[in-house]
């Protein structure tokens, strides 16, 4: 009985810590948004506005109030879903972001699938062959993926696979003449095109997706490989692995039935984290591939200094990260008998 209470206490504590983290996130974005030397009012009214309009906007933005009051307003706005208007598009920022998000999620999901399918077997393979040549080969291969500047690799890959070999689609999510052919229902092009039965669009989309997703996946597989390897080494050094061998299980059975089972939960955590950090690579690769997603939206606003949009993007990424962490925590609780 006391234990269930303790666990309940843990869940409440976790919820509390999430709320505190979210609050901290707001503080951080608020201050970053306000510490810019560039004048936010000028950004809105332009260089040759009159003093009067300037004052008006200055007041409207609440910049004449004490900082803490500004923060309260900011918090109220955020909590009511009011993230302000984008200077560039003139639309509410949140609407813009919801519009571009599916493209990024599609890319990132595809990439994480590639990363996990590449990273997990490689990690296990390396651990099993520790300090022998397969281990070294996997290490160099995965470190290579981890070391490449992804924006550059993207450009080179475009030159080679698109411009010279013409194996894959080029920039964007699909070929030019398909744009607008499929209704945006979910925003995920692969799903939308399948639903509409437009197989040509589907293939074109897949053709465009494959190159950036593979590059992203490869770069994230480094992390997955490394962690898989070290988790696996941990497990292979455990005594229960010897027990399994003594029972007469083969090396392969021991590895997959026993040791691998014990790292599944940790792998879920790692993949969730890797998914989050894929968004980072996405910012750069979307710029290179003109992928109309979240990353492109962020960078184009960065360059024109639209802090409203930028900070909202940052905030959302923070929330996604916290959500992923929470998710992996929950999965941990569900899958590990020791935490049940």
């Amino acid at each position: 009985m006391s234990f269930s209470r303790l666990r309940l206490g843990g869940a409440v504590g976790q919820l509390g810590s999430i709320i505190v983290t979210l609050l901290g996130l707001l503080v951080l974005t608020f201050f970053i948004g306000r510490m810019m030397p560039a004048d936010p009012v000028r950004a809105i009214v332009g260089e040759d506005a009159t003093r009067e309009t300037y004052e008006q906007v200055y007041h409207a933005l609440g910049l004449d109030r004490p900082v803490w009051e500004q923060f309260v307003y900011y918090m109220r706005d955020v909590l009511t879903g009011n993230f302000g208007t984008s200077i560039r598009t003139g639309q509410p920022v949140i609407q813009d972001i919801l519009h571009v998000m599916p493209a990024t999620i599609e890319l990132a999901t595809f990439a994480i699938l590639i990363g996990a399918c590449l990273g997990i077997p490689m990690g296990v393979f390396a651990a099993v062959n520790k300090d022998r040549w397969p281990d070294h080969a996997v290490r160099v291969f995965s470190l290579f993926g981890h070391s490449m500047p992804i924006f550059w690799t993207g450009m080179i890959a475009l030159i080679v696979f698109y411009a010279h070999l013409d194996l894959v689609g080029g920039s964007g999510r699909m070929d030019q003449f398909y744009i607008g052919l499929v209704d945006e229902r979910t925003g995920f092009l692969l799903i939308d095109s399948l639903r509409a039965g437009e197989m040509d669009v589907f293939w074109s989309a897949l053709n465009h997706l494959i190159l950036p997703a593979t590059l992203l996946g490869y770069s994230s597989s480094a992390y997955i490989t490394r962690m898989t390897r070290s988790f696996m080494l941990d497990q292979l050094g455990q005594e229960y692995v010897t027990t399994a061998r003594v029972k007469g299980l083969s090396r392969g059975q021991t590895i997959w039935l026993h040791a691998f089972g014990n790292i599944r939960v940790q792998l879920v955590t790692i993949i969730a984290l890797a998914y989050g950090s894929l968004l980072e690579g996405a910012v750069l690769i979307e710029t290179v591939f003109a992928w109309p997603g979240f990353g492109s939206y962020l960078t184009s606003n960065l360059i024109i200094g639209d802090m409203n949009a930028v900070m909202t993007c940052v905030l959302i990424i923070g929330v996604i990260f916290i959500g992923l962490n929470l998710l992996s925590d929950i999965l941990y609780r569900i899958f590990d008998p020791r935490t049940r």
Binding site: F144, M148, I150, W152
Partner: protein, 294 residues
Amino acid sequence: MSAAVETHTLPGWLNALKNILLFLLRSPTSAFGLAVLAVLILCALFAPLIATHDPYVQALGNTLKPPGNGHLFGTDELGRDIFSRLVYGARITLTIIFLVSIIVGPVGLLIGASAGYLGGKFDTVLMRITDIFLSFPSLILSLAFVAALGPSLNNAIIAIALTSWPPIARLARAEAMTFRKADYIAAARLQGASPLRIIVKSIMPMCLPSVLIRLTLNMATVILTAAGLGFLGLGAQPPLPEWGAMIATGRRYMLDNWWLVTFPGLAILTVSLSFNLLGDGLRDALDPKQMNKR
């Protein structure tokens, strides 16, 4: 007395350093890392001697020349020698790595070790703060900082430093938490050692190896982040020969003039890879588990 200790430990230190270097040289991958690092440092130190041209002088009659004819890696859209710009770019890269590391390493180590050892409220507050920072991929947070501070090399360094101490602190804390329960810490407490003394003399030396490893691996990330910022036009500003910025300007001409983007990219890749390999080698060389065995 203390002098006796001093003379005793100094050669010990050098000896350890020598052993680590020898260990690293034994594996081809980390030896490669060391070699690249050496080349990078030499380039940065002796850039004027190594470079064949002035990296800033434009020669508008000599633009977009392919490699050869006195230009090892060709020339860019303003006729500047790419090889020379790469050599001078090493200075920028090294400056970024160096500044970020000497800010982030000690800060992360001290904060993390203290939080891990002291626990309690201090730890909770600290971990909340790092949680918040860790809620972002480092590039995105750096982007936000640079966007707010204004794009420049210095601001890029500040932004990268601001975003890369939390993982180090987190690591040092995790390490410190495993050591705080050790009997030798209990023994030190029973001898009346103050918390500060325990942190500095007993906890930090134990966290140091993994922090060093992490810092080395972190350098690879720093290089990529800095290059990414440069690429987006938010890092070093033209005409500085920063490698990421070189790729960004070369991008417009890349379909016909492959050398513009290829060489700076290779430079970034090689240096970043070498730090990763070096960090990996250090992990084996400094592995505390292996040290305890012997």
